[in-house]
């Protein structure tokens, strides 16, 4: 680890870097994220595995685990606000703070965005370094290119609580299906009836026999990605872990937009006429 000395006129000033650990231990941590971790005065962490926590602890002597702030029955948003307060307390004390989250620190993670926003508003240097996310791993492991058909992502509860437009000609990726409707940690698991509501909603756009994929990426390098397939109708009764993601491949072909194509063809003609003139 190389710590470059501060210029003589530089005074210690708090800063915040939110970095991603990636998904798989040893495989995904970027050199820059690792440098932030090693050079920080204080490191906060919210990681996926004990092994990853132990790995991180070897990179900095002051690593503080954020996960114990989760409590059974406690609303998640209260925990996330506490995380923000913890980070900013150290930033305001003049510390170089690094907050490490598994995957990408800005994907399905409220606290890093909020902490950076507040730190910047208070005049501190704060930024985010991307990490390899579960979504990135999903594309690689399932062989999906979001550019081929398009790809929508929703937190499953949001899909139920809000009026959203699903496009069955593209991929649909549903996150957090297992804890559907649970807003606090340790809440009583919702029964199959809750997932049945999701299936009923999806059945407006997909046949019940449509194949779905249940995916989980590897977090330790001795693991392989878990890929299971089932029919949409069976989703309510499947065993699902919180780390598993449900993917619905397209059920319909992409329809050509004839009106827009005609309009673009007209523009092509006009452009060609201008060139010829």
């Amino acid at each position: 680890m190389t710590n470059l000395p501060l210029a003589p006129n530089d005074t210690p000033r708090g800063s915040l870097a939110c970095v991603g650990m990636g998904m798989t231990l040893g495989s995904h941590l970027t050199p820059l994220a690792r440098s932030h971790i090693e050079q920080a005065d204080v490191v906060f962490s919210a990681l996926s595995d004990v092994a990853v926590e132990k790995w991180l602890a070897r990179m900095n002597p002051d690593v503080r685990n954020l996960r114990p702030y989760y409590k059974e029955g406690k609303p998640r948003i209260e925990t996330y606000q506490e995380w923000v307060d913890l980070m900013l307390t150290e930033v305001r004390a003049g510390k170089r703070v690094c907050a490490v989250f598994y995957g990408h620190p800005g994907i399905f993670a409220w606290s890093p965005h909020k902490a950076i926003e507040i730190a910047r508003a208070e005049g501190f240097q704060a930024h985010m370094e991307p990490g390899i996310s579960a979504e990135d791993c999903l594309y690689a492991d399932l062989g999906i290119d979001p550019g081929s058909h398009g790809c929508q992502h929703f937190e499953a509860s949001q899909l139920l609580f809000s009026e959203r437009r699903i496009d069955p000609a593209g991929y649909l990726v549903l996150w957090q299906v297992a804890p559907l409707g649970n807003w606090s940690v340790g809440a009583f698991p919702k029964g199959p009836a809750y997932r049945q509501v999701l299936v009923d909603l999806l059945s407006q756009d997909y046949p019940l026999e449509h194949e779905i994929i249940i995916y989980r990426c590897a977090t330790l390098p001795i693991e392989k990605a878990s890929i299971r397939r089932a029919a949409l109708r069976d989703l309510p009764h499947l065993q699902l872990g919180t780390e598993e993601t449900v993917v619905l491949p397209p059920s319909q072909p992409v329809k050509p937009n004839l009106a827009i194509r005609a309009r673009l063809a007209e523009l092509d003609k006009l452009e060609q006429a201008d060139i010829s003139a």
Binding site: Y80, F161, L220, P221, E223, K224, E243
Partner: protein, 83 residues
């Protein structure tokens, strides 16, 4: 000799080891004197077999409920209804 965390980091960073067949990986670990728990985990692809490495205790888990590795692997953002 590498300990288990160092081995996991090494495997994760090594193109030959990361996707090696389980038998081949375990053979490498065996020759290098890796722990029995790591070899068992590598053979089965089941990380729960590593729990003895950390004393088999809890992890301060958050409701995931999958034994010592049962951390909350859900997102760190509950979707917030703005209405």
């Amino acid at each position: 000799m590498l300990d288990t965390i160092e081995w996991l980091e090494t495997i994760g960073q090594n193109a030959s080891l990361r996707h090696a067949p389980a038998e081949q990986l375990v053979s490498t670990l065996d020759q290098a004197g890796a722990s029995a728990a790591l070899k068992a985990a590598a053979m089965s692809g089941d990380k729960s077999k590593l729990s003895s490495e950390w004393g088999g205790g809890g992890d301060g888990g958050t409701g995931g409920g999958e034994g010592p590795f049962g951390v909350d692997h859900s997102s760190h953002s509950a979707w917030i209804d703005n209405d």
